[in-house]
Point group: C2
Chain length 205, copies 2
């Protein structure tokens, strides 16, 4: 079992939906994988070159005037088999790398304005991602094709998790603006429930 799925394999995966250029593949990554996998041109183009050298994809050159030739890649039978084999051997790991949470862990070392700015930015970012997913969900509902089904899991996952994340961060952000009432007084049930899921009354002062 290989722990990781590299860009090369992901390119095969994208091409399993149909032929595409490197540029198209990048677009696909951005639209569909953006909330769980990232790849830039710097990894996609070399990956495609290696795949072509290995006979896993076929290239069709479509000359453009002015623009560089558009190279359209298509999965070969060998490529399809390789991709299925890779899926079979891949462990379903799930990793987060969050500078945001590290910063919040060390929040006591940062000025309050910075904390507020960080939280604002994160809420905005989550909302941006949510908007993207909602557009996809709406499109799927309209299309109603069988092919939309497999994607739905990931979209639903993203909506569920991002919503929870946004709500949590937003509620903590709101606390920063209204700290006067109870700097650390007892009840404040909403915040408590949020922070720990284990209700915990601070024995005030």
């Amino acid at each position: 079992m290989s722990q990781t799925l590299d860009v090369k394999t992901l390119c095969l995966g994208v091409l399993s939906h149909g032929p595409a250029s490197g540029y198209d593949i990048k677009k696909y990554f951005e639209q569909t994988f953006s909330h769980f996998y990232l790849a830039g041109y710097g990894s996609i183009y070399p990956a495609l070159a290696e795949l072509a050298a290995a006979g896993l994809v076929a290239i069709e050159d479509r000359p453009h005037e002015g623009r560089p030739d558009r190279k359209v890649y298509a999965l070969t039978e060998a490529g399809r088999e390789r991709f299925l084999a890779a899926l079979r051997e891949t462990e379903p790991s799930h990793k987060v790398r969050s500078e945001f949470l590290v910063l919040m862990h060390f929040a006591h070392l940062l000025p309050p304005e910075r904390i507020a700015a960080i939280l604002d930015e994160r809420v905005a970012s989550f909302e941006h991602d949510l908007a993207l997913l909602e557009r996809i969900a709406a499109g799927d509902a309209a299309a109603e094709g069988g092919c939309a089904d497999p994607r739905r899991f990931c979209v639903g996952y993203g909506l569920a998790v991002l919503t929870a994340a946004r709500d949590y961060v937003a509620s903590r952000r709101a606390e920063l603006d209204a700290p006067r009432s109870t700097p650390r007084a007892a009840p404040k049930p909403a915040a408590v429930a949020l922070a720990s899921a284990g209700p915990r009354r601070k024995t005030g002062t």
Copy 2:
């Protein structure tokens, strides 16, 4: 603004809580950062060596009999400043790399048993992480020190997000065992609700 926070900087951060050995630091990473940052010995030890060479940490050698000498690292003033500067310059990014979601995206290419196994494993993994966070939350509540406060945000975040993730995956897993009712009937309001984050009564057995 540097996009990323490397292991070197994170070591400074851990040491800002007090002196520790490389071994201790790894433990800290596992216990406290596990759901948003990973680091192994292979990156921690070289990082500490570089930090020492740069004068950002001081080493105190504590000879042990039998065991290799325990090297306890402590932040120097220069180290503390460097860490604060790094925090100031760090963007609060937040990235996910999920082989799990990639596999689910291509679920139509995998046998149903595999899908079931993947979902089961992921639910188990989320529950493992949740148990860890709940232990921390419980410990914090007991300790009740001022130092617990900054950590609380991250623990609360983890609880909120992991709970949502676990619930979503578990509900989808349950559907696999009871798929007969509506293979592809027209409206299917339940499925829509599910895909968009609604917790959902399992249409029992």
